[in-house]
Symmetry: C2
Subunit: 157 residues, 2 copies
DNA sequence: AGATAATTGGATAATTATATCCACTTGATG
DNA sequence: CATCAAGTGGATATAATTATCCAATTATCT
């Protein structure tokens, strides 16, 4: 339903939000969120182009959230990397249905609208309050800033 | 959001429902719904395996709806060809989140649940009442049964 | 200025989704 | 029982998505 890319982008943004306004390297984010580093780099580029994230090149560079976590919705992230496509015109290109979608496509589009609304109302900030004092993604406790490349204790599977 | 396959399957089912309990050949359905015939054949096979549609081989064969249009929901069709995957386990495989999803994935799964509910409540029968006396999909007027291979008047693009 | 650590962008590979084709089987009909 | 129109299943092609790799660029630190 949601693409892999969206899943990855959301993980990255949540992790950046959790460490806001800290800046983290692609490697750090990749490790914490279990996203393939090479691919994550592309995803982050997309988020940067959309202005959701700020890139800092060079030594001690990395990425940081460009907006406050409560100004940023899940929908913003989704639309930045893999836009939710509403059905605005008849997919069959029928003249008859140009002004008003046929019931099938109307219904499908309504579902999209519903999702769009829900996701736009879900702010990233809301995703950070974890009841059990656990970190949002990641089993490990909050990583100390600029920690060396410690291997996260990881259960197999 | 919804795959091409789902879109095709829904078009086929709606068209079959519209002609219910008539049986239509793959070619006829393909023409009316603008779905590539070769691919539609696979999609219909899937629908047949799921029991939503009945295949009749041999001369004067074709496909017909196996259930009444008001017993069949959009969700049934979606699940038959490209199941809506709910998020039941933590996508990161985190032990901590085994019992309770982290807020991000909870929220995403809630969206899925919402869609699932909406689509399960949308019966195919409801998609057939078109206000303007137009056919559900397809510009053409209701095709006379067993019509010869007339070319549907089609605007370019 | 040189060394180092980081992102950037381009090329490419692997995988999955979409689509086509064809030989085979099935069943109705004359 | 021969014929022919239809679905079936397998092989294969094409396109899009996901993923990897590396040379080039940029910024920081000493």
């Amino acid at each position: 339903m949601f693409s892999q890319t969206v899943e990855y982008a959301l993980r990255a943004v949540v992790w950046l939000a959790y460490n806001h306004p800290e800046s983290l390297t692609t490697q750090e984010i990749a490790r914490s969120t279990q996203v393939p580093a090479g691919y994550l780099s592309k995803v982050l580029q997309g988020l940067a182009r959309a202005g959701l994230v700020q890139a800092q090149r060079g030594l001690h560079g990395g990425f940081s959230l460009a907006l406050s976590p409560d100004e940023l919705s899940i929908l913003d992230v989704v639309n930045a990397v893999d836009p939710l496509r509403r059905i605005s015109r008849c997919p069959l290109g029928l003249a008859t249905h140009a002004k008003r979608l046929c019931p099938l496509h109307k219904r499908l589009d309504d579902s999209m609208a519903m999702i769009e609304k829900t996701l736009s109302e879900s702010k990233i900030a809301e995703l950070l309050n974890v009841p059990a004092a656990a970190t949002p993604l990641c089993d490990a406790p909050p990583v100390p800033r600029r920690a060396p490349l410690t291997v996260t204790a990881r259960r197999k599977r």
